[in-house]
Each structure stands twice: as C-alpha cells, then as structure tokens.
C-alpha cells in the first residue's frame, strides 16, 4: 500500500506492507536513522518523534495510520552546523553517555518545553496555572524516555539550560 507523509518539511510517498511501523519507515525506507529502535514496544522512548507536533513513540504507530500526517525527527530540528538550543545544551552539559537514547530525549524534551510554555500542567505540578521546570516536573514529564546509561541528572541540566536560552 501507499502512504504520503511530510517528514521534516519534505513530502514522501512510501510504498509499504500494512505491517510497517512508522519507525521502520523512517529508518529503513527514508534512511533517517537518527531515530532509534530500543524496545520496539513503547517502553523506552528511543523512537520518539513529533507527529503533527506532538511527541509519540514511532514504534507504536503503523505507517498506514498516518497518511497525510507531518512528522519531525531529530534530523529535522537541527544539523551539526546549526544545532537546536536543546542539542547544543546536551553537548555542553554532556547529557548522555552512549548517546543511544539522546535523539528520543531531545525530541521528547522539544515537545515538553513547548507543553510547559503553553501552560499544560502535569500531575506533579504545584501550580496548575504556571507550571515550573523543577527537577520533579522534568522527571515526570520525561518519564517515557529511559536512559540505560542513567544520564538523567545531566539530561535535566541540559533541558534546564535550553529552556533558559529560549526564554
């Protein structure tokens, strides 16, 4: 079957088996290998991309469900020459060890900072009107992105740094 996707601003028509996951389409058909496959079961967040602006696990999306949708991957938010504020902050703060979870962390954090800026509370927010970027708040909001190397403290520092830059 055929599906049309806009990935990082560029339209693609892909021909695929109905079983194809969005993750496999991105990595194997479009050769966008920045998005990683950790568990393939929705548990780790390594495959996080933005789907119509919202963060999702691309391993739990079938490409067939997304005809006409817009996808943003790690390749779409910056390049080695022009890093996004979060990418820069992860480098600066060493927000990783092996780096496997990093694209997912950065995509998830990209959406998370936007959600906070729009005032969306989480269930650990003390202030439901103006949620603040505390460590507890970040840990909760990033709970879908696991880091096997346990770089969590530095990941949070990097996110905090990027959020200051953007404000």
């Amino acid at each position: 079957m055929k599906t049309t996707l806009t990935v990082n601003g560029e339209a693609h028509e892909v021909t695929h088996d109905p079983r194809r996951s969005l993750l496999d389409t991105l990595r194997d058909d479009l050769r966008l290998t920045g998005t990683k496959k950790g568990c393939d079961h929705g548990q780790c967040g390594a495959c996080t991309v933005l789907l119509n602006g919202e963060r999702v696990n691309s391993c739990l999306c079938l490409t067939a469900m997304h005809d006409g949708d817009e996808v943003t991957t790690i390749e779409g938010i910056g390049s080695p020459e022009r890093l996004s504020a979060l990418q820069k902050a992860f480098v600066e703060k060493d927000g990783y060890q092996c780096g496997f979870c990093t694209p997912g962390q950065i995509m998830s954090a990209t959406a998370m900072l936007r959600e906070i800026s729009e005032g969306a509370p989480s269930y650990v927010s003390d202030d439901l009107e103006v949620p603040k970027l505390t460590d507890t708040e970040m840990a909760e909001r990033m709970s879908g992105n696991l880091c096997r190397c346990s770089a969590y403290p530095l990941i949070r520092e990097a996110i905090a740094m990027a959020s200051e830059v953007s404000q």
Binding site: M1, D17, P18, R19, S21, D40, H41, G42, Q43, G45, T48, L51, E54, R55, V56, N57, C59, L60, C61, L62, A64, M65, D67, S108, A111, M112, E115, A120, P121, S122, Y123, R141, S143, G144, N145
Partner: protein
C-alpha cells in the same frame, strides 16, 4: 506480526461495515494492540483503523454529564475534561506523555486490561458505554479480565460519565509501566457511593460493595477503617506483589481516595 489488510474508514457506519468481515479487528491508538500484534498474540485478517473518524473524537460537558468520544486520547481528556477533575487527573497519569498522545479511552475500555485505569473510572462513576448499536451500563459491561459485553464487530463510540458531587482516583503504580498495581476510584453522587477497584482481581475491575455500604452513611476514611480488607485469595499474584498485599492495598487506597475526594 502476521500479515493483515488495512482499512481506514472515515465514518462509524463504514467502520462497522468493514468490521463485519471475518476476523476483522478495530485499531484505535494502537498502544496495546500494536505490541500485541508484534508478539503475534493477535492475527486479524483486516485491521480497521478508527483514527480517521472525526465523530469519535472530543470531550463535551452538558447538564451534569461528561461525554467523551471513544477515539479521544488520554492527553486530550487530561487537558479538556475539567468539568470532571478526578477523571482528567486519572487520564493525565496513564503511562507517559507519548502513550497519552496516542492511547484512547475507547481502546482502554474495549481492552479491559485488569490493571488499566479507565475501567475503574467507568465502573466507579456508573458510566454508560455507548456503542454503534446500543448503550450499556458499566455494571453490565465489564465481565472479567479482558472480557466485556461487546459483541463481535461492535464498536464503542463514546463513554458518558455522570459528573458526581465528589470523586477521586488513587493509583499505586507499577513504576515502570505506570499501570495500576492497585487503583481505587471512589465517587459520591446522585447514584450513591461507588468504589471500583482495578489492578487487584483476577476477574478484572470490581466494585467493593462492603466499602460502598459503609461509605453510604458516612463518607469518610474512618468509615472504611473498621472493615476487613477483601480476601486476597483470588487476587493477582505476580512479581510486583502477592494477592494478600494487593488486598491490603485495596483498603489503604480506598481510605486515601475517600480522604482525597473530601478534599
């Protein structure tokens, strides 16, 4: 995955027609079904995606009732069900943000996982499950672990919650998945007091009737204090906790949920 055909209808009528095919199965957010397909635990002939049906999406409150379209994501319920705060809070604690951006209330209620959160809210509020062909009271709908009153090919279109005077959900969460190790939903409203328990019983979500009786006269945590915890003999026992431990949690969480509902 075993191979399947794929359909993406844009109306409930077309979806019902497509589901009339032998071994067809509905696909909503896919957060449960896609992992199940990957494990080859399901082998539908055709997957009927409900994601393009606009009529299945949205939250609306009217005259003391909150209606949620079956295809509404947990994230949308968390953000838009302000008219029923306990329910919005429950939705905002399901899994993690990425799961909440895809998973839907219809998928959760249809699946009836014994540790899922929404079944406790539906049973604990006395909700009505609306399908393409009828309306089913939550009391008749949940029929045991992964078992519901849905017929072959029948789809949930919406869930209607009467908004109670007081309600709260407390989940003792399994830290990795956030599913309920035990979760208790209490409400007090026009239909009386309800206490629904998820995560504990091998028969799936259930009402703890002794606690409901005790709370009917005195809606306070103290009213539950004197009760014996329900028997742990038939409760889920796994690496996360024994049946007796879960039974103990049912009582503790019921008290906490009542205290929380009383604010």
């Amino acid at each position: 995955m075993y191979s399947f055909d794929f359909a993406r209808p844009t109306s409930v009528a077309d979806a019902v027609a497509a589901l009339g095919q032998e071994d067809a199965q509905a696909l909503s957010g896919g957060q449960t079904l896609i992992p199940t397909l990957k494990q080859r635990l399901a082998s539908p002939s055709v997957l009927v995606s409900l994601s393009a049906i606009a009529d299945l999406k949205g939250v609306s409150a009217e005259g003391g009732t909150l209606s949620i379209g079956a295809g509404t994501t947990h994230a949308t319920v968390a953000a838009e069900a302000g008219a029923y705060p306990a329910l919005a809070e429950l939705a905002g604690q399901i899994g993690d943000p990425a799961v909440r951006n895809r998973g839907t209330i219809g998928g959760s209620i249809a699946n009836n996982d014994p540790s899922a959160c929404y079944p406790a809210a539906a049973l604990g509020s006395g909700a009505t499950i609306v399908t393409n062909s009828r309306e089913i009271a939550a009391d008749d709908y949940f029929q045991g672990m992964f078992t519901t009153a849905l017929e072959e090919g029948e789809i949930i279109t919406a869930v209607r919650f009467p908004i109670p005077e007081k309600a709260a959900y407390i989940k003792f969460q399994q830290p990795a998945s956030r599913f309920a190790l035990v979760g208790v939903y209490v409400s007090k409203g026009a239909g009386g007091v309800r206490v629904a328990v998820t995560g504990a019983s091998n028969d799936g979500v259930f009402r703890w009737s002794e606690a409901e009786a005790a709370l009917a006269g005195d809606f306070s945590a103290g009213a539950v204090e004197g009760l014996a915890a329900p028997s742990g003999a038939d409760m889920i026992s796994d690496l996360h906790g024994s049946g007796d431990y879960r039974a103990h949690l049912v009582k503790v969480l019921t008290k906490r949920a009542v205290a929380k509902a009383n604010g």
